[in-house]
């Protein structure tokens, strides 16, 4: 049971308060970007390349311009006149807005058609004739580094290969020494394939430039409106669009998951066109464009190795990565960490030595490297460590649960310094795993498995005990394009004791309008119902870096606490004044201050707020408002213990997830209902890459599954009935001990599922399978190795 300090009427932390935002969504009154309609608005559609790598010989716009309703066709040459044909990525690489001579991936933007209606724009797009001279694309990242590979980015001065960056952590020599003396070394080659977030709402915008005021209002699907405003000012400042003249509004967002962090060319073209014609321009991509051109996630080729004693004590790990970034590094990682937080790959286990090295390369694939409901590359890290740990268990014939328990960082070792330099804040990994094992009856399942194996039936049990790293982040190490990754909250309490609170983050379904209100309710005792939360308008909200990487609660949530505590301090001063006692003589309980020993002498928060406007002490600033910019002292480290049971048909190899138990530790819980909902959703986005999703390209550079007909987003049928629970170890450095949760399940679930499937197939000597694991892949593997 979660203890609550506040009454249900106040609904502070721990209450499963029903969501405040739902009223509009269930009645069809959400306001998503495609719902925005402005007078005189034009529509934009985008001509895209059918080739993965080609020279553009000619773009013929004549026929398109003759179509009734078509107003203009914009090409790279047009943008070049304003130096707007290239833009920076969030990783300080460069990306074409529209190409002037070469296309670098299939579905790349080639030209934009502007028209008075959506249909006319589409007609115009069909009528634009582009002549290409196709070239042989580079699709295999390993071949990118060959001497005879074409140099994909000759636009970059001095670039003589396709290598983007090298990154490493830990000591190569020390790790090598441990490996060469170890009893047991296990090794697997893994590919975490390219996948797509596929939020049900695609990306889009309405760019509304007002020529008279020289002012741009940009309604767009962005998870980080403030950062985007700054980026627009950096890209377009030279044409007179400076930051005070830009207002970015992120309306209701239909799911983000990392895919709505980057700046896509469509946004920039829409701004450029609106700037030139002085009318609002709407661009809404369709689903296939979204899957084919917007940022992908993952695509890491990993060699994972683990060294151990023969009893199963882990001694060291080593990871070598080749990262396929497509034609530009358009990931959204903190500047210092081009590999994101991959170096949390040492996992939940206590051992002193590890080495990671990564190289990133260009290929003729779409750019990206964003998250897919996870914190900066943590999923890749967790998959690697959790798979290789199971591999060790298999090698030495030890139960994987036992192996984990014997190697866990113990709860009294926190704060724990990991071999690659992170300081894990808190955790109780043994408690989590034991809870999951009891809930699923682990011993009973193992006994059942023995019986099933005797009958030739395939049943597998998979465990994942992961540690996440979220809440970026402390300003000394974390920035995006130089902007430090703090976040903010501003609380204004009105004279009648009702409040509005604004944040630098932006919910895409996480329920901030409810949970932030609950945080403030907890701190001030004002009922959450009476706290209005607003985000997403850069003109009104304080500056912040946005919502991704489970950072909202760790950063903006903490900012709300700190701002609320400033207000509580002010309330205390007013109470002392009104009750004619000293501040030390006052006692706080949610919603009121009373005099110690004389509880009948008290003032409610509402009375104190009213006094701040009507009867405040002389010399005190009037009003009841506070703002806080929170720079977290450390990241937070949520963890989880997941156990999955699968049954695999021994002839068709159809995989059925029979049960899945997820125990999460996200520290103190603000709203159990919302936390559980986030876990459910994250788990389905965990089974998705484990069993269904992968963007597949052929050698000619064609995407083979670029529509929702063949890119398999799980439905309610594929998605199992999830069973969830929690253990709670509060974060010691977060003001309310919360850690963040939205992404843990997406990170933790894939290895649990993969481990279960491999466990089932271990009777055939299978030690690894790359995700997504499908019946066909199992059949092929067994066939190729002569097992069937």
């Amino acid at each position: 049971m979660i203890q609550c300090k506040t009454s249900k009427a106040i609904s502070g932390m721990g209450h499963s308060m029903k969501r405040k935002e739902d009223a509009r969504f269930i009645q069809g009154k959400g306001n998503y970007v495609d719902d925005i309609k402005l007078p005189g608005m034009l529509y934009m559609d985008i001509v895209r390349s059918p080739y993965a790598y080609a020279k553009i010989k000619k773009i013929n716009t004549e026929a398109a311009l003759k179509i009734p309703g078509v107003v203009a066709v914009v090409t790279g040459k047009d943008l070049e006149q304003y130096n707007l044909h290239w833009m920076p990525t969030l990783m300080s690489d460069t990306q074409m807005v529209l190409p002037t001579d070469t296309v670098m991936y299939q579905a790349q933007e080639v030209a934009a058609v502007i028209a008075t209606s959506r249909y006319a724009a589409r007609d115009g797009k069909e009528a634009v004739i582009v002549e290409y001279e196709p070239m042989k694309p580079l699709m295999d990242p390993y071949k990118s580094l060959n001497d005879d590979a074409p140099i994909l980015r000759p636009d970059k001065p001095g670039k003589t290969d396709n290598h983007i960056w090298h990154w490493q952590a830990g000591s190569r020599e020390e790790t090598e020494a441990v490996f060469s003396n170890a009893d047991v070394v296990v090794k697997e080659q893994m590919h975490i394939p390219r996948i797509h977030v596929a939020s049900i709402e695609t990306c889009g915008c309405v760019a509304d430039y007002d020529k008279v005021d020289n002012h741009l209002t940009m309604y767009m699907t962005t998870q980080a409106p403030h950062a985007i405003r700054t980026v627009i000012a950096l890209v377009a400042g030279h044409v007179g669009l400076t930051e005070e003249k830009i207002r970015v509004i992120s309306p209701d967002i239909g799911g983000g998951f990392g895919g709505k962090v980057p700046v896509y060319p469509g946004y920039v073209i829409a701004i450029a066109v609106s700037f030139l014609v002085g009318k609002p321009v709407k661009w809404i991509e369709d689903r296939s464009e979204n899957l084919q051109a917007d940022s992908f996630a993952r695509d890491y080729h990993i060699t994972a190795e683990m060294a151990a004693t023969k009893e199963g004590k882990i001694l060291a790990t080593r990871f070598k990565i080749l990262a396929d970034h497509g034609y530009t590094d358009a990931a959204a990682n903190p500047s210092k960490f081009p590999i994101g937080m991959f170096s949390v790959c040492t996992g939940s286990y206590d051992y002193p030595t590890s080495f990671v090295e990564a190289d990133a390369v260009y290929t003729n694939k779409p750019p990206g490297g964003v998250a897919y409901r996870c914190s900066f590359r943590v999923t890749e890290a967790v998959h690697a460590i959790e798979r290789i740990t199971d591999r060790l268990a298999f090698e030495i014939g030890k139960d994987p649960a036992k192996l984990r328990i014997e190697n866990f960082i113990q709860k009294d070792q926190f704060p724990y310094k990991s071999p690659l330099g992170w300081e894990y804040d808190s955790g109780d990994y043994v408690a989590g795993l034991e809870k999951a094992m009891n809930a699923i009856d682990y011993d009973g399942l193992r006994a059942e498995q023995v019986e099933k194996r005797k009958k030739g039936e395939l049943m597998g049990i998979g465990i994942s005990t992961f540690t996440e790293i979220v809440g970026a982040g402390p300003s000394k190490d974390f920035d995006i394009l130089g902007i430090k990754m703090f976040d903010s909250a501003e609380i204004r309490v009105h004279p009648t004791g009702k409040a509005i609170a604004r944040f630098g983050t932006k919910s895409q379904g996480q329920g901030h309008e409810t949970t932030y209100a609950q945080i403030i309710a907890e701190e001030l005792g004002i009922p959450a119902e009476h706290i209005q939360v607003e985000e997403g308008d850069t003109d009104t909200a304080p500056y912040g870096l946005g919502t991704y990487a489970s950072r909202s609660t760790p950063t903006a949530g903490a900012a709300a606490v700190m701002a609320a505590r400033k207000l509580r301090d002010k309330a205390r001063k007013i109470a002392a004044y009104l009750l004619e006692v000293s501040e030390e003589d006052l006692e706080w309980e949610p919603g009121k201050f009373s005099v110690k020993g004389a509880p009948e002498k008290s003032k409610t928060i509402q009375e104190l707020v009213f006094a701040a406007y009507t009867n405040h002490p002389q010399g005190m600033e009037a009003g009841f408002e506070a703002t806080h910019y929170y720079d977290p002292p450390n990241l937070t480290f949520p963890s989880g213990a997941y156990i999955c049971v699968v049954d695999i048909d021994s002839e068709t190899f159809e995989i059925k997830v029979r049960r899945f138990v997820a125990i999460d530790d996200c520290g103190h819980i603000i709203n159990p209902m919302i936390v559980q909902g986030q876990v459910h959703g994250g788990l389905t986005q965990g089974i998705a890459p484990a069993m269904y999703e992968e963007l597949i390209y052929d050698e000619a550079g064609n995407i083979l599954n670029g529509t929702l007909m063949d890119y398999l987003v799980p439905t309610a049928v594929e998605s199992p009935k999830w069973e969830t629970g929690h253990v709670i170890t509060p974060s010691p450095h977060h003001p309310i001990g919360a850690k963040g949760v939205g992404e843990s399940p997406t990170v933790g679930a894939p290895p649990a599922i993969a481990n279960a499937i491999v466990d089932a197939l271990s009777v055939y000597g299978v030690t690894h399978m790359d995700i997504p694991i499908t019946p066909y892949k199992i059949w092929k593997k067994l066939k190729d190795t002569g097992k069937i």
Binding site: I200, I253, G255, A439, L708
Partner: protein, 166 residues
């Protein structure tokens, strides 16, 4: 262009439309009923689901002219003004939505499902909504929301809406 008459949420609209206009665009852009959403271009996601003469259809896959003379219900017409349909209540009470983008289509689909099968099993619900994608919720609570609405429509005791933990 063709003149069509479509009754939407009880109100008849007679308008000239292009022959190729999709019903979803008619609903969203001609009538400004933006509760019906668009999530794909391949009839795969169900975000655009509405009722056409009482049957759930993906309105991105129907031309407006095909709906001539027919009755449409969208999320805006699910319940009389000022009240909530049991499904709307069910989704809110059971946290059956996160971003809300799939929700109108999901509820419209579920409304036909419950019409035909007032007491569906969990499996029947899961198969019944398998033409509608949700990327956020993991479906557990959508199933719960539909079960709750079913109980409410049948006049039975409502199931608990508290989250259950292991």
């Amino acid at each position: 262009m063709k003149e069509i008459t479509i009754t939407v949420n009880g109100t008849a609209h007679t308008l000239q439309v292009e022959n190729r206009l999709l019903l979803v665009h008619f609903i969203r852009e001609v009538l400004n009923l933006t509760g019906t959403h668009i999530g794909c271009d391949t009839s795969s996601c169900g975000a655009c689901t509405i009722l056409l003469n009482g049957k759930s259809v993906k309105s991105c896959t129907v031309l407006a002219v095909q709906a001539n003379g027919k009755e449409i219900q969208t999320v805006e017409g699910l319940a009389p003004e000022g009240s909530l349909h049991p499904l709307q209540e069910g989704f809110k009470e059971n946290h059956g939505l996160h971003c809300g983008f799939c929700t109108p289509g999901m509820m419209m689909r579920a409304s036909e499902l419950l019409q035909n099968n007032p007491n569906p099993t969990e499996d029947e619900i899961r198969w019944g909504i398998s033409g509608n994608l949700c990327r956020c919720t993991g479906y557990n609570n959508i199933v719960k929301a539909i079960q709750y609405a079913g109980a409410k429509i049948r006049g039975e005791e409502l199931p608990s809406t508290e989250p259950e933990f292991v």
